[in-house]
Subunit: 181 residues, 2 copies
DNA sequence: CAGTTAGGTCAGCCATGTTGACATATTTCG
DNA sequence: CGAAATATGTCAACATGGCTGACCTAACTG
């Protein structure tokens, strides 16, 4: 690790005076570390999911429904940024196999609000546990403000357009979960 | 942002006394922000690649070959963690269309060392520029030590087994690039 | 009542991952 | 030297999870 941090930190040409990042040297390390980190971040869940006959797409649906019980299909589509046909395929499997249920909306009966079953929650929490263990291990290795630093970094990486929506989603899910527990 | 950071920071139960992260509350925010950040991190490149008739798989190959000219096919497979059949498909297209060339190894004539052409470097740098602009913008919004903090966070997310190899790769590529420029 | 909205579905296509088997050239080693 | 290991390529078949386009029902809204 020491091998890398020293040269890369000293190596970095100051960004000042470079317009729009157009001519500047690429920030290779972060670009590549994002690839490697994300790659390793999803492999453990993938392995577990494979035993259930599920894939990464199922994981995403299950995760967000578990986090936001009663969410609308349209909200989920907006988060995942996929078509309803793609969602429909995996959602149908999750429903058929008893991981997710859909309930008619109370106000708007066109809506099919999404909820995880006990079985679904169990799997969602198992997968979240794997990823949490990895993140917790990383944050523990770093300083006490690492969580805050990581969050801020990741947030600013998100498209400014989506940013507020993402933060609202997370805040809302946190609130709801706090009330239930 | 303030809406999120305050509750999430105060909300976090201390990890002490929880064995193996098994029973602890998942670290929802980082898990989800990684998803959203990565999702947005790849969309711009994806859009550019689509105009060339390429996909994300081509991007990865082009990126790593550009970063490490003369790398062996086996090294690339190890980085991407895909099968040689999967690699072969996209690599063939990149070679056929003049973005990558393969040269016989000087020492070991079985090797087909990989190099980008001028055309390939141009596209690779264009894509790296997009991602760099995003990262640079994020780091500029945060403090001066944000780059270091982000790097350390991402590194510790990587599997400990791969970690050294990844860091060696990045350091080697940095050295090589420094010599060329 | 007409139009919009929420959601579902069928059919087909594409990109990119997989396994398994096999081929060829080259290097390495007993 | 010759056998085995290595680096790479390739064929065939399959799975996952994106996509487009077309079309449907039920329910809400003005």
């Amino acid at each position: 690790m020491a091998d890398l941090t020293a040269p890369a930190a000293s190596d970095h040409k100051p960004a000042s005076g470079e317009r729009a990042g157009r001519t500047s040297e690429p920030i290779w390390d972060i670009i590549e570390l994002l690839f490697f980190a994300y790659r390793d971040f999803v492999t453990e869940p993938d392995d577990v999911l494979a035993k259930f006959g599920f894939g990464r797409a199922h994981h995403r649906v299950l995760h967000f429904v578990n986090r936001n019980p009663g969410m609308k299909v349209a909200e989920l589509l907006d988060i995942l940024k996929i078509t309803k046909q793609s969602l429909g395929r995996v959602l149908k499997q999750l429903v058929d196999q008893g991981y997710v249920v859909q309930k008619e909306g109370a106000n708007d009966r066109r809506q099919r609000l999404l909820y995880v079953t006990a079985k679904g929650e169990s799997l969602a929490m198992k997968l979240a546990g794997l990823q949490t263990a990895r993140v917790a291990h990383a944050l523990a290795e770093l300083g006490p403000n690492a969580h805050e630093a990581a969050r801020r970094f990741l947030v600013t990486l998100i498209d400014p357009d989506n940013r507020d929506g993402v933060l609202r989603f997370i805040a809302r899910a946190d609130r709801a979960r706090r009330q239930r527990s």
